[in-house]
Amino acid sequence: MDALLGLAGESALLPSRIQMAFTLATHVLLVPLGVAFPTLTLVMEGIGIARNDPVALRIARRWSVVMAVQFAVGAVTGTILSFEFGILWPRLMGRFGAALGLGFAIEGLAFFLEAIFIGIYLYGWKRLAPKTHFLLGLVLPPSGVLGTFAVLSANSFMNTPGGITVHEGRVIDIDAAAALFTESIGYEFWHFMIALYMTAGFAVASVYAVAWLRGRRDHYQRLAFAVPFTIAAALTPVQLVVGDLSARGLVEDQPAKFAAMEVTWTTRDHNPEVIGGLIDDSGQIHFGVVVPELDSLLVGYSTNAVIRGLSSFPAASRPTIVEANITHLAFDVMVGLGVAGAALASSYFWVLARRRRLPEGAWFYRLGAWAGVGCYVAVEMGWITTEVGRQPWIVYGLMRVSDAVTDAPASYVWTMLATLVVVYALLASFFATLLLRLAARWRREDLAPEEGAPYGPRPERLEARG
């Protein structure tokens, strides 16, 4: 019957990979605000309470609505991801679910708590004393951290599996702590956590940087810019260090990924650092800037440090040339953006320290507006680096992506992918329209912005739509 309906045919590997990449890339965009926005909102509310500043409270209250809307959209895209594990990669979970699932179970708990406490936070604006409201809100940041840890724990299991005993292809025993805290969780967690806070901070600030450029420069705009921007800017130099440690960790943990990131072909000392550029299948580098000795120096603090090259891995167990190039360029873009962010952050703190006020140049705010976009790009690039750089493995060294894929026909997955692209485009446009409507409404009036928002209290009267 399958053949009759034209459902039989080639493997669904390619469309499954594209679909997973597409839906994950979308979900990743919602994560920074989902995890870190509550903290920014609470800092703002704390300022409002401490200084008795109604403007800060109004900002926090509006932010909480954006937080809820975006959390709801993230809940949809996250639900889809959880089903895709079964629809696209049933064998991954069939074999490693008992270990890989540990993180996700904890994430389920965190998700549950976040949903309820966002509800409490929104309801509480009009129903709780300010301090109680603030204190109950304090549950949100740790829930976000817990959820992030849990998902990254699952991801680092895929990168550096541990804590399992495999017998004849079956996981027969598990050490839960070792499976949750695998080799790479340390740097993956801190690197991503900081990235989320930076991105949320720069992204929120960028909205008010645009407002500044359009001439709206009152207390409201300045405060809403300064708080998130300061937090993000303070984290930027930290991220340079943590990012460096992450890359260093890969040298040991996933040498093939590191070789792809640096497009190193042959194992050697005095390895140069290639900035930009592409590698071909004979190991030649084209375009790009080659800095002699630098890679060895960065990795081993000595030009004699030996770096393993791609050619030292069997061809079937390392990223292909195309994948290596994608990994390399994504990595370079991420690092470049990180360095640019650090420069912007230093100029900000320089002005702050010298003149004790916010910068006033239009250029600063133009760059500030772009910093939000830049952070999202950097997050995507970092994610591409780690996922594409792991190819052809879905669980490093233990299971190939091609062995995990569904038996569903390719045509089926292609159709599903096309449908999802259309639906996601709709979702994105509705989401954007909704946010713009909110902004427009707030310019007119906003006695209780949280009413009628997802997770928020019901409006008090029943009004029919037009």
Partner: protein, 331 residues
């Protein structure tokens, strides 16, 4: 311990069926409300009732999926390998529903409103149908033994799907009676009272039909439902559904919502207990599929944390929902 985890999974599925059911049911009534002035009023009520819980019930769904792959990896693999067509449609309905519910609030012209209403309503119908159909597929015993198409589309999947649509419409109407009362809209209270009765009748009719299908397709399941461990729950459903209908008919607004939840929840339990100890009838038992002990321990700890932290938090939320507002801090 394995049985306990299976029970937690069944509870998560039940929570989604009941809480999510209320939500989907409201969407179904939205679809059926029509364009008359009363229909518009009903739709406004549905809008107001649903906005605060938009997509929040996905929590239960995600928990069920995660529990399934963590606690019973082989069940997860086989089920998804066979039933991906059902899950794909259910999922599509889920996104479209969420997206177009949001779109209703931003659409400008009447035509886009109408489109949004229809897409929202139809997807509210599709999602519960196809999720329940997957449970029917599992109960049919064809998951893992037949082809994906045979497993996904057979009399059992249709029977479970149809019952779930009636059950969600029933839950939806019952809770909308409560919402209408809250907004002091007597006309809407009566409107949904009538619908509770109608949906209850539909639930009894489709439920009976489903029993006949089960009798012809999987007699062993029917036996277990009517004489085995599924019996108390099957009885509970059979008693509570008419009780809710009678309460709604007579306008006795006490215990009707909790009874609705119990009626629909028992329906899920009747299936789950009748099928135990099998996860896949005749093929895979709880003991065969369960993950190693360390995983079980973590799952029970997570469940305990969920209960200890989540239940009081939900209590706070409920309290806030009932509490009148303080003076606005900005006023």
């Amino acid at each position: 311990m394995a049985d306990l985890i299976a029970l937690v999974l069944l509870l998560a599925i039940t929570a989604y069926s009941t809480a999510g059911g209320v939500d989907f049911g409201a969407g179904i009534w939205d679809l059926l409300a029509g364009t008359s002035s009363r229909g518009r009023q009903a739709r406004a009520l549905i809008d107001h009732a649903m906005a605060p819980v938009w997509e929040v019930n996905n929590v239960w769904l995600v928990l069920s999926v995660v529990l399934c792959w963590t606690a019973f990896p082989s069940l997860f693999e086989v089920t998804f390998s066979s039933l991906y067509p059902l899950f794909t449609v259910a999922l599509l309905g889920l996104i479209l529903r969420g997206a177009f519910f949001a779109f209703r609030h931003v659409a400008d012209d009447a035509r886009s409103h109408r489109i949004a209403d229809v897409v929202f309503g139809v997807s509210s119908l599709l999602t519960p149908f196809f999720f329940a159909a997957s449970l029917g597929a599992i109960a049919s015993g064809r998951v893992g033994s037949g082809s994906a198409l045979e497993a996904s589309f057979n009399p059992m999947t249709v029977a479970f799907g149809v019952v779930s649509v009636a059950a969600t419409a029933f839950s939806g109407a019952s809770f909308l009676v409560g919402d209408a009362r809250r907004y002091a809209a007597p006309e809407m209270v009566a409107y949904f009272q009538r619908r509770v009765v109608a949906a209850g009748a539909a639930l009894i009719a489709t439920g009976t039909g489903a029993l006949i299908v089960i009798a012809s397709q999987v007699p062993s399941l029917l036996r277990s439902m009517l004489t085995g461990p599924g019996l108390p729950f099957a009885l509970l459903t059979m008693v509570l559904t008419p009780v809710v209908m009678a309460l709604a008919w007579r306008g006795i607004f006490r215990w009707y919502r909790i009874s609705t939840v119990a009626a629909v929840g028992s329906l899920v339990f009747a299936w789950g207990f009748a099928q135990a100890p099998y996860l896949l009838p005749g093929q895979l038992t709880i003991a065969q599929a369960i993950a190693p002990p360390a995983t079980q321990t973590v799952l029970l700890l997570v469940t305990a944390a969920l209960v200890l932290l989540g239940v009081p938090a939900m209590g706070v939320l409920y309290y806030l929902d009932q509490r009148s507002t303080l003076e606005s801090p900005e006023a």
